[in-house]
């Protein structure tokens, strides 16, 4: 009997160390999955930097696109992107934050509210190119705005709206109920509670969400191609009703050309795009760390 137990113990011990070894191997493989993702990210960044660095110059900021790589620049694309961001922000921020406030603070618990919520959730999953088709059919054709900055900005605003609404709601939800109750007890209306208390406390988090939404918009290409933003613009856009191009479209255009010089230019454009995105994200992180109130 005792020999049998001892034997069993030995097999169990051997089995156990095998089982533990299996677990160790799995842990290492799983860790390598993450490392592989990070390695891919680094490879991408290094590849783009090596390709683009020789082409990075101040000329990119001052010259219009050209069929000669030495003279080609991003001037109209950068201005187009800047215009588009300002117009998109002007449209999307009030609507998105307003809708977020409504859904979180004012909305009654009923079917209409539920329907709106499902809508927002679903819109977040609609491919961006579908927004492009909406913009093409509705803003460019039906409203007759043409392939202008304002049509692009309206399309982009609808695209980032779900992001702003969702982050606004999360930010508002983080404000403790006691703040609202205190203000309500002193006789404030629900709007005064939202304006003077909830929005003040949640502003940093809302701002972070807005920056993230804008960084999504600045890199979007497909919907703007669909509404017909052009690839060759050789003048400075003067207002919302001008035709335009943006940074990612100019990059796409240069990638599509067969000459490798243009690929270098595209990589240089990507470096600028990534630098803009990086600074926006750094700003968002800084805001979150500095201003965010933890309850």
């Amino acid at each position: 009997m005792s020999t049998l137990t001892a034997l069993r113990d030995v097999t169990f011990e051997r089995n156990l160390s095998l089982r533990k070894l299996k677990g160790k191997i799995f842990e290492i493989i799983a860790f390598f999955a993450i490392l592989l993702g990070i390695a891919m990210l680094l490879t991408l960044l290094i590849d783009v930097f090596l390709d683009g660095l020789p082409w990075l110059s101040t000329k990119l900021f001052t010259e219009f696109p050209s069929r000669f790589p030495d003279r080609a620049g991003l001037r109209s694309a950068l201005q187009g992107s800047l215009w588009l961001m300002v117009l998109t922000a002007a449209l999307a921020i009030p609507i998105g934050v307003g809708a977020g406030i409504y859904l979180e603070e004012f909305a009654p618990q009923n079917r209409i509210t539920r329907f709106i919520e499902i809508n927002v959730a679903n819109l977040a999953g609609v491919p961006s190119i579908i927004y492009g088709l909406l913009g093409l059919g509705l803003f460019v054709r039906q409203l007759g705005l043409g392939r202008t900055l304002i049509a692009g900005a309206m399309t982009m605003a609808l695209l980032v709206l779900p992001i702003i609404i969702v982050t606004t709601r999360e930010a508002i939800r983080a404000v403790p109920q006691s703040i609202r109750q205190a203000a309500l007890a002193l006789g404030a209306t629900d709007w005064e509670v939202s304006r003077d208390h909830v929005l003040v406390y949640s502003a940093p988090a809302i701002l972070t969400g807005i920056i993230l939404a804008m960084s999504r918009a600045i890199g979007e290409t497909a919907p703007l191609i669909t509404i017909g933003a052009l690839t060759y613009i050789a003048f400075d856009p003067k207002g919302p009703f001008d035709i335009f191009t943006v940074l990612p479209i100019q990059i796409f255009n240069w990638i599509s050309l067969p000459q490798s010089d243009f690929h270098g230019l595209a990589a240089a454009g990507i470096i600028i795009l990534l630098a803009v995105l990086l600074s926006m994200n750094a700003l968002a992180i800084w805001l979150r760390n500095r201003l965010l109130i933890r309850w």
């Binding site: 089982r19 533990k20 299996k22 677990g23 842990e27 799983a30 999955a33 993450i34 993702g37 990070i38 891919m40 990210l41 991408l44 590849d47 009030p94 609507i95 998105g96 307003g98 809708a99 409504y102 859904l103 004012f106 909305a107 709106i116 809508n119 927002v120 959730a121 679903n122 819109l123 999953g125 609609v126 491919p127 961006s128 190119i129 579908i130 492009g132 088709l133 909406l134 059919g137 509705l138 609808l158 709206l161 002193l186 629900d190 709007w191 960084s215 890199g219 290409t221 497909a222 191609i225 669909t226 509404i227 017909g228 690839t231 990612p248 796409f252 990638i255 990507i270 990534l274 995105l277």
Partner: protein
């Protein structure tokens, strides 16, 4: 009772006795209250209208897509659209079989899933079950950067970095091919797969893990035989969301996968996806009333329908999984 900024006006005329004063305050309060109530109602109405914009967007998408799709099907039979095996609307001899585009879309998406699902799932298990809090705080944001890089950059990377490597490995690889787009897209989707799965794994109650440990299971056995099955519906939701994202992804395939709609399962060949076709037509100068203009809406409608169904499925799967453990 005026609050804060509303109490700026001094109360007039107090010398005529207490009653007088009370009435004045009363009437002022009522006046003030009315003003504040009006403001409140206006804001409520306005923000309700803003919230309705999202409903309007959905309605607008469906209306615009349907309008042109209906016009399209007046010229092309639905049967041809779904059964013909050739897609040549831009050529002289026009054929309108959408299957090659669907084939291209699914081929690239399947390839992307081959990269994103195993890596994303492993990453999720590591982050949720193995990584220390500090490690997770460092690794997760770095991984998320992958999702924040614009897709046009992935397109560049696929065409000018991945494709040359593939051509060295497999000389028969075409310059534009499905595989390079799949690989780049897989890494783009990895963070989505990882973070949604991780949320599901982390939501599994601690008691389940402790029960497994008490039964003598190792950490690995607990993670793969207890935690993972318990979180399966959440992982399934992550998978469906990832597929939906892959199907709708545009710039990577427009740059790297080519413009040749064909029925093939060979990822080294040049293909065309639904999204890349829409880009191709949009880049050309397509007249408003032409059949080519209508095709992009018909293809868009199909794409919208496919992603919508997947989003609905993932919504219900997630809902079920939430009810289970909260």
């Amino acid at each position: 009772m005026g609050m804060g900024r509303n109490q700026t006006r001094p109360i007039p005329c107090v010398k005529e006795g207490k009653l007088q004063m009370a009435t004045t305050i009363q009437s002022l309060t009522t006046q003030n209250h009315r003003k504040r109530d009006r403001e409140r109602k206006i804001i409520r109405g306005l923000t309700f209208f803003f919230a309705l914009v999202s409903v309007g967007t959905t309605a607008g998408i469906i209306y615009e897509l349907l309008k042109e799709t209906v016009l399209f099907f007046q010229e092309v039979s639905i049967l041809e659209f779904f059964t013909d095996t050739r897609w040549t609307p831009l050529f002289a001899s026009k054929r309108f079989g959408v299957l090659p585009l669907v084939n291209g879309t699914l081929l690239v998406a399947a390839g992307a899933m081959l990269v994103a699902v195993p890596l994303g799932l492993l990453a999720a298990i590591f982050l949720s079950e193995y990584a220390s809090e500090r490690m997770r705080k460092i690794l997760k944001p770095i991984l998320e950067i992958l999702a924040g890089i614009p897709t046009v950059v992935y397109g560049y990377f696929a065409l000018l970095f991945i494709t040359p490597i593939l051509r060295d490995l497999f000389p028969e690889t075409q310059i534009f091919n499905a595989a390079s787009a799949s690989i780049a897209m897989g890494f783009m989707i990895l963070p989505l797969m990882a973070s949604v799965s991780e949320d599901a794994l982390s939501a599994v109650p601690r008691s389940l893990r402790e029960a497994a440990y008490a039964m003598g299971a190792t950490k690995f056995e607990t993670a793969t035989q207890v935690v993972l099955p318990a979180a399966l519906s959440g992982v399934a939701a992550a998978f469906i969301l990832a597929v939906s994202r892959a199907i709708g992804e545009t710039m990577i395939v427009a740059i790297a996968a080519g413009q040749q709609p064909k029925l093939t399962l060979n990822p080294l060949q040049s293909i065309e996806t639904m999204t890349a076709y829409i880009v191709q037509v949009s880049l050309g100068d397509t007249p408003h009333q032409s059949i080519a203009y209508k095709t992009i809406f018909a293809v868009g409608m199909l794409l919208f329908g496919m992603t919508l169904i997947m989003n609905i499925i993932s919504y219900f799967v997630t809902k079920r999984f939430r009810e289970k453990y909260e």
